[in-house]
Symmetry: D2
Subunit: 289 residues, 4 copies
């Protein structure tokens, strides 16, 4: 199958390489075209513009950095829309808000094309290892057609229903994650101040029913107050806020998430927004003897 | 090594069997002596009383049901104390509060004996599979002497410092667990009311950074409103309360644990105290259309 | 001074009557013109349209039901804008969100007019008794010019700075009020379940440092589960949400308000949104013996 | 009527003076007897010991500093118990915990005497002005007999039922107060960071439905970061904890009180426990630009 791929940042490069390795014919485009070279060496073709890629390929995938870029590749001159037509599919795997996604969806379908949003769970390393989790929503037929490509890039893909559900699933997962991080931090501090060794707590946790990759990965760094950002606290707090807003819309009371959100806000007010979201630990452990 | 073993309930029976299987000579006692038969068939000796067991063995382990039973085997007529003396060790693996543990510790050491508290993380199945996690505290030399026995019963043992630290570690772990359960429940409800399939959420969680045995084990039952008790909600709430009290003593502010505790209290007030602690889900999802 | 007055609902009628009683010459307009009759009997003139009122009066006050109506009287055909010009002032006393207020402000000032937003604290009874508290913001000179009119309608007016600050002050006050209502409800339930008489609690509160008109006014009805709406719960919850959003913007962590907001959301999910905001009491006291 | 009065601290002195002023014959005792002089000048008699006072008087009132002192005047040599007998009444107006109160109650009644606990709401100034609020519980007949004395010392007395209910009522009131203080502090900080003048907020609050003496009294000092202790934060937090424990006993979920308690604990962890309980404001406003 001929697949178009727009956006060769850290994620997009790894993903498009995995497509090529699994035997897909891939036509790539990137704003800075020189980033295409490495892909070309592996066998990719290059499209001069998003429009050119769409013209050539039945299915085009985008993986760009933010909502503004996602809108730009679609709506700008020489953008996706210019060549979109019946029979063609567009799959946006960027992380964008539901409104951006809806706007793109409407534009694509008004041209007769079909659209799937498919944000991913997982960052650089899982992208390279083809271990992403893909949260797809939108046109079911296009989703099914894209499964072989999804399988080349990820370990599992989900079809979650109408447009917006991909973004919603990410919010729910991140909300649980944010509350867990707070609970974990409270436990570390309680252990420490009660005369236990926090490292022992990490070891005990890792052997029991609530062992999780996050505790194992972040715990030792938290104890050493190392908060170099994998997922910045301000983004985690934004996701908590959006998840709470989703709850508000649907009259879901979430006292744990609300308390966790306020802790993240306190961390922001203390100037920790650009550190890793585990830096909420600084707020929890704050203490004056 | 000759090991005494007091208490052959579900846990104690499995644990003493593992000792025999790994080659220890074991002398058992149980309040209802007939429960010793199965062990005798495997090669155990029987002691008529706790005192008789202690008299015969250098190290005696107890695994009884609650603090009252833990005190009784030590202090009653024909109890552990009567034969405790210098050179002998007593290891209480029952789950008891710190005061009970201190009381036993003082009595044992006043007789010249040495004492270790060693509550376990894990229930019936891990006990049978010798996969318990052992949270030991107290006399360091006795702990080291008991390591081969611990290794026969569990996958890992920890030495956590002075008496009381075993119980404290359990509280910290259970506190994190209780907060996580609430966060998980909020996520399931938010997913459901936002038009997502809660089963998809479970699948997505299980593939990511916050995958945990608890979510995998409890999630499907929670979605089906199946709350048959593994760990009763009222006990979970009691542990939250005790963990918060420990935090109060040490001036540790724990807003997430506090919010989770209030949710468990609401569940108790709704009559759900005897169900599994995951039944807090009933409170979170309560809704009238 | 000649004052225009747009909107003769419950509030507007009472307020314009007070202006007349205090000697102002008032020209009134209402969408349903027949509601002007009572005012005419007291000496008011009638304007056929908002534009006609503005043409005639140096200062025009509006008191309409919601943001849509507030926009409509300004922007529709025959609206305020058509006759707005340099030297004229427009005072909107309706309760609207900051964006609506900004939109009106920009339109008025682009025509050369001056604008004050002036939402009020207080409902029907204080409006009739000229006991409103007026939260004004915007053009300082117009505010000062309008003071005699404010004094005729309220017991106190505040000038709070730039446009938006009137609405913000209302949010802060309502946020404190919502948290207090929850604290009060928790106290009533705790008293009741601990064997105290909730009526005694009300009496004790009323004699002490935290006596407040709200406890005195709402308490007896709450005990009788009488929640006929003075300020609907769904509006209170909306104000909590907006206050929390204001806090989010400014990195202010507000755990009490967040917990109160979740309780109000629970009340909404239980179908209590149209009752008085004191109906959160139903959630707090929910209990199964 | 002849009234005995034990304890002439700040509160006791003011209260016994009010009894004398209203025409009661009063016999006083104080650990440091010289503190009796001023009362003697006003017409009081002096008892050499608590026992001597009880021997002479039908009703004896105690107002001492803490539970230890309350137990001491009753149980020590020459204490109240030695002369307690049928027909005599003992009224303890000190602030003590329910267990202390029960212990005293049992001792008094075992001697045939009758007992009322009657902690007060109000401090020095209301004591001097005979404006205390008296929260009485225990023997109903003795309560009624003591009403004229209560009326001489306070503006209002309540009979709240069985022993313990006086202390419980104080806890409920202080719990509401602690939550309100947090809500108030959040409001001040939100106002300040949103560009409003916190003093304007105080003025607006004071004119509306949630005006309360506490906001009026504490607000200006909070804005100036003046937290000289009227009611120390660590005592407020202790009362929150006890109120939450009372709620736990009775399965009452109180998320607002729990969140407020955690904020007070954070304040304690920051070293603010000896300041006024309004010093929780320091935690709420903590911020780094």
């Amino acid at each position: 199958m001929e697949i178009g791929f727009l956006g060769l940042g850290i994620m997009g490069k790894a993903m498009s390489m995995n497509l090529i390795k699994k035997g897909f014919k891939v036509t790539v485009w990137n704003r800075t075209l020189s980033r295409c070279d490495e892909l070309v060496e592996m066998g990719a073709s290059v499209g001069e513009t998003p429009a050119a890629v769409v013209k050539k390929c039945k299915i085009t995938i985008a993986m760009v950095s933010d909502p503004a870029a996602a809108l730009s590749v679609v709506f700008d001159k020489d953008g996706v829309l210019e060549e979109m037509s019946s029979g063609k599919g567009y799959v946006d795997m960027s992380t964008v808000d539901p409104e951006t996604s809806s706007k793109i969806s409407e534009a694509i379908t008004s041209k007769g094309g079909s659209f799937v949003e498919a944000p991913v769970s997982g960052s650089k390393q899982p992208a390279e290892a083809a271990q992403l989790v893909i949260l797809a929503a939108g046109d079911k037929a296009l989703y099914e057609e894209a499964i072989p490509a999804f399988n080349a890039m990820g370990k599992k893909s989900f079809y979650l229903g109408p447009i917006g559900n991909g973004a919603r699933m990410k919010l729910v997962v991140n909300m649980i994650m944010g509350s867990m991080m707070n609970a974990f931090s409270e436990g570390i501090v309680l252990a420490d101040r009660s005369g236990l060794n926090p490292s022992d707590l990490l070891d005990v946790l890792d052997l029991g029913a609530i062992a999780t990759p996050m505790f194992k990965g972040k715990g030792p760094n938290m104890i050493k107050s190392n908060f170099s950002p994998a997922f910045p606290l301000k983004h985690q707090q934004k996701d908590m806020r959006l998840a709470l807003a989703l709850g508000d819309e649907n009259a879901v009371s979430m006292p744990i998430a609300a308390a966790a959100n306020e802790a993240f806000k306190k961390a922001r007010s203390m100037g920790l927004g650009d550190l890793d979201f585990s830096a909420v630990h600084e707020v929890v452990k704050q203490h004056k003897d």
